[in-house]
């Protein structure tokens, strides 16, 4: 039997379809990136750690609902003790903020796999040798990072929102608290865009694990510590703007309508400026790293 016979037996026929636009490649790029991350056992360990807090809140909301029904006399006591689980915008904002450490760790791990490896192992050339422009590649990668952020913040927050509402006696919780839904999505969007741009830029310039992890940790742990030191030294709260996660939290508070007017409102504009500056600087940093490779057609 020769090769032609084998091909015929396999039912092969030439493809006669139309090639789709390049933008539709962003989802396969994102999906492939997520597959690479999901295949690692360490990812599931980190996700498990990240969901501990979610599980705790989930159980607490359920417990509160049960107590409300079974023993209304202690309802006020429970509400006082568990103020943080009140079903208000603050609850979800605080939850999403508290997911920060694990999200940061997860992205430190994923940054090397999603972006760093493309630069170290030459995977970028593989992508760009297809009918995929640089912008499609960048958007695809940003989308994969953003989805990871949403997995640890927005998705659990939405589940908690649904749980809280479904454990009340009517649908009025959802009707009265649509701002919370928009707050979750808005805060999630801010985190997704900012963190994806920042991580891509860092991983493109520092593709090796150790420098990337150190730089990433410095941004989220060392800068806030420095900000706290300078704030206590000079008494100026504007030093707290050095903490990026805090800046995103302020914007998230505004999304939820949970800004504390005395403390936080004056810093809101500064936070927006810092977040925009980080996004802009990251975008500018990404450009030369993607243009560094010329694919000759």
């Amino acid at each position: 039997m020769n090769d032609d016979t084998h091909i015929e037996l396999a039912g092969y026929c030439a493809w006669s379809g139309r090639l789709r636009p390049g933008w539709l490649s962003t989802w396969p790029i994102a999906r492939t990136g997520l597959d690479l991350v999901f295949r690692r056992k360490l990812f599931w360990l980190l996700l498990g750690l990240g969901l501990l807090h979610f599980l705790f809140l989930f159980a607490t909301i359920y417990l509160k609902a049960q107590i409300r029904v079974q023993n209304p006399s202690v309802n006020r006591f429970v509400d006082t003790m568990l103020k943080s689980v009140a079903g208000a915008g603050r609850t979800y904002r605080d939850f999403m903020t508290a997911q920060g450490t694990v999200t940061m760790l997860l992205l430190a791990f994923a940054g090397e796999i999603l972006v760093g490896n493309d630069y170290r192992q030459g995977g970028l050339v593989f992508y760009l040798s297809r009918r995929v422009a640089r912008r499609h590649y960048v958007v695809g990668k940003l989308l994969s990072i953003a989805l990871l952020v949403e997995l640890t913040t927005v998705l659990p927050a939405l589940i908690l929102y649904l749980e809280y509402g479904l454990l009340t006696e009517s649908m009025s919780y959802f009707a009265e608290n649509t701002r919370i839904l928009w707050g979750i999505l808005g805060y999630g969007l801010v985190m997704a865009v900012t963190l994806s741009l920042l991580l891509f830029a860092l991983a493109a310039w520092l593709p090796r694990t150790v420098p990337l992890v150190m730089a990433w940790s410095c941004i989220f742990l060392l800068l806030p510590a420095f900000g706290a030191i300078l704030r206590s030294a000079y008494g100026d709260r504007r030093w707290l703007l050095m903490a990026l996660w805090r800046d995103m939290r302020l914007i998230g508070s505004w999304c939820f309508g949970a800004l504390e007017s005395g403390r936080d409102s004056p810093l809101l504009v500064g936070s927006i400026a810092v977040v925009l500056a980080v996004c802009a600087a990251s975008a500018v940093a990404i450009l030369p790293r993607v243009r560094a490779i010329k694919v000759v057609a």
């Binding site: 450490t101 694990t209 060392l222 206590s232 030294a233 000079y234």
Partner: protein
């Protein structure tokens, strides 16, 4: 001059080879991009300490609670150790250059010792240098604690480097696991009531700080309430840090001797 055959499996050859490996590893780490990041951290720490010292009459208690514990002990000390220790075997494994080291007649324990020695030397240099810079630029409040707390920095570095070196030998993603330990587990355990926090290296670091600080008149409530910390004595903390450092190191050598890296 002896021929190459004369050096087959000689003890002096092994010692010479191990020393060369340690020096080469140290040189490679010093010349790598992570040294730039470490240098930036050191400079940033110095600048932050200098800015802090400009406040009106800072005291030692404030230096310990506002600078030492949140910045140095919680972040810089484990980070420098992570940066130097996790790539010791893991980087060679990832870059597939470990095969050259395993093809030499150096016994595997000696390869591991050489790598760990290089990591420890560099980590110690960074932690001590940053400690010196931090305390110097923090002014009198910082300089007063430089010598009394040097043993804390030294032994904590030994313990962290031992642990992270073990991660490097045993795990593929050693850097991320070390980061999870340093930034997540230690924080989680540190905030737990009871004696669960005694699993973390940072607990013993804090105990040594409290013990050394007591001689300088530091209040035992610095950092957190004593009933939350439940500290052990400085001598016990020092013993545990030493023992942990050597135990992790020995476990790393044992594991490296048996592992098939292929």
């Amino acid at each position: 001059m002896k021929t190459p055959a004369a050096y087959r499996s000689s003890l002096t050859g092994h010692i010479r080879g191990s020393a060369v490996l340690a020096l080469v590893s140290l040189r490679r780490m010093v010349r790598s991009r992570q040294s730039v990041v470490c240098a930036l951290l050191l400079v940033s720490a110095g600048l932050a300490a200098a800015a802090w010292s400009l406040r009106h009459a800072p005291v030692v208690q404030e230096f310990v609670s506002e600078v030492l514990l949140p910045v140095y002990v919680s972040f810089l000390l484990p980070m420098f150790s992570l940066c130097c220790a996790t790539p010791s075997i893991a980087a060679d494994r990832e870059e597939q250059t470990l095969v050259y080291l395993l093809a030499t007649p150096l016994p595997r324990p000696m390869v591991c010792v050489a790598k760990c020695a290089a990591s420890l030397a560099l980590a110690m240099a960074w932690t001590m240098a940053t400690w010196a810079v931090l305390t110097w630029f923090a002014g009198p409040a910082g300089r007063a604690v430089f010598w009394p707390f040097c043993p804390v920095v030294f032994w904590s570095t030994v313990a962290y480097v031992g642990l992270f070196h073990l991660f490097s030998v045993a795990l593929r993603r050693a850097t991320v696991v070390a980061l999870v330990y340093a930034l997540f587990l230690e924080t989680l355990l540190g905030n737990m009531p009871g004696i669960a926090k005694r699993v973390a290296i940072s607990f013993y670091t804090e105990c040594m700080i409290l013990d050394a600080g007591a001689k300088l008149g530091l209040s035992p409530t610095v950092g957190r309430e004593p009933e939350l910390l439940l500290p052990v004595s400085g001598d016990v903390a020092w013993t545990v840090l030493c023992a942990l450092g050597f135990l992790f190191f020995a476990a790393g050598v044992w594991r490296f001797s048996r592992e098939e890296y292929a």
